[in-house]
C-alpha cells in the first residue's frame, strides 16, 4: 500500500487535460452566475491560471474538478466585488419599498410568491445542466465533440461533416452512441 502511494501520488493535477475535461463544465457554472458569456469565459480562463499558480497547494483531498470549481467561486465573487466598487457608495433606502403607492402592508407583500416556481426551477435547471455536462465529459473525445456541435451549438449535419471530415452515417452512429451513453449516465431521477 505504501509502495503504491509512493509511485502514484493521489494528489496530482493534470493541467494539460483541463480544457478538454472541465472547460465546458466550469463555463456553464460561470454563465449561470454572471449571465454573460464573455465574462464567464474570462473567469474560466483565470481559474485555470490560478489553478496552475497554486498547483503546489493542491492537497488531493478534493477531486480536481471540485478544486477548480472552488477557485472559480472565488473568481465569481471577485468579479462582483470589482463591479460593485465601480458603482461607488452603497445606496441607502429609507422607504421600506421603492414603490410609494403601497402603504400599510410591510413584510407581507414582499415575501416570495409561494406559487411561483421560478426560483426552484432555475436552480434545478442549473443542476441538470451541470449533471449533463459532467456526463458529456466522460464521453470519448470525438463523440462529445459531435454531440456538442449538433445538440448544443445546433450546427447542421452537413457543416459538422465538413468540419470534421466524416460522412453523415458516421455522424449518426456517433450521435447514437453519445446519446445512449448520456441517457445511461444521467441519473434516472431526471427522467
Amino acid at each position: 500500500m505504501v509502495l503504491l502511494e509512493k509511485n502514484m501520488p493521489a494528489y496530482e493535477l493534470h493541467p494539460d487535460t483541463w480544457v478538454d475535461q472541465y472547460a465546458d463544465y466550469l463555463f456553464n457554472y460561470a454563465v449561470a452566475r454572471v449571465s454573460d458569456a464573455e465574462i464567464a469565459k474570462d473567469l474560466v480562463q483565470e481559474t485555470f491560471f490560478a489553478g496552475l499558480n497554486s498547483a503546489k497547494n493542491y492537497k488531493g483531498d478534493a477531486a480536481e474538478r471540485t478544486w477548480l470549481v472552488a477557485i472559480l467561486k472565488r473568481k465569481v465573487i471577485d468579479h462582483y466585488r470589482k463591479i460593485n466598487s465601480k458603482k461607488g457608495k452603497a445606496e441607502v433606502r429609507v422607504n421600506y419599498s421603492s414603490s410609494s403607492d403601497s402603504e400599510g402592508d410591510w413584510l407581507e407583500e414582499q415575501v416570495a410568491d409561494p406559487f411561483s416556481k421560478d426560483g426552484d426551477s432555475s436552480i434545478e435547471n442549473e443542476e441538470l445542466g451541470l449533471a449533463i455536462q459532467e456526463c458529456i465529459s466522460k464521453l470519448p473525445k470525438k463523440q462529445s465533440l459531435v454531440f456538442n456541435m449538433k445538440t448544443i451549438q445546433g450546427m447542421s449535419t452537413e457543416d459538422i461533416c465538413n468540419e470534421l471530415g466524416i460522412n453523415p452515417s458516421n455522424l449518426w452512429v456517433m450521435i447514437h452512441r453519445a446519446r445512449t451513453a448520456l441517457m445511461g449516465c444521467l441519473n434516472e431521477n431526471w427522467f
Binding site: 480544457v19 491560471f49 496552475l52 499558480n53 445542466g129 441517457m183
Partner: protein, 76 residues
C-alpha cells in the same frame, strides 16, 4: 413498411434533431406499435432531448478552447 430496430433507432435519433422525413417518422411510429424495446428507447430519447433544452447548455467553441489551451501551455 417494415424496418429493423437499428433503422428505427436511427430515425428516432434523426427526429430528435428534426431531420427525419415524413415517411421515416411514419415507419418509426408503426414499428414502435409492435416493438416494446424501441418504444421505450423512443420515449427516453425524446425525454432526453427536452432535458437538454431545459438545461440551457452552453459550450465554448473549439476555437475558443484551442486559444485557452495555448494560453495555458505558455504558463506550464
Amino acid at each position: 413498411m417494415k424496418i429493423s430496430c437499428e433503422e428505427a433507432s436511427q430515425i428516432c435519433n434523426k427526429s430528435q434533431y428534426k431531420e427525419a422525413g415524413f415517411w421515416q417518422v411514419l415507419k418509426l411510429r408503426l414499428h414502435v406499435l409492435t416493438c416494446k424495446t424501441c418504444a421505450k428507447f423512443t420515449k427516453k430519447n425524446t425525454a432526453f432531448t427536452s432535458l437538454c433544452e431545459k438545461a440551457n447548455l452552453q459550450v465554448l467553441s473549439e476555437s475558443e478552447k484551442e486559444a485557452m489551451r495555448k494560453d495555458l501551455e505558455k504558463h506550464l
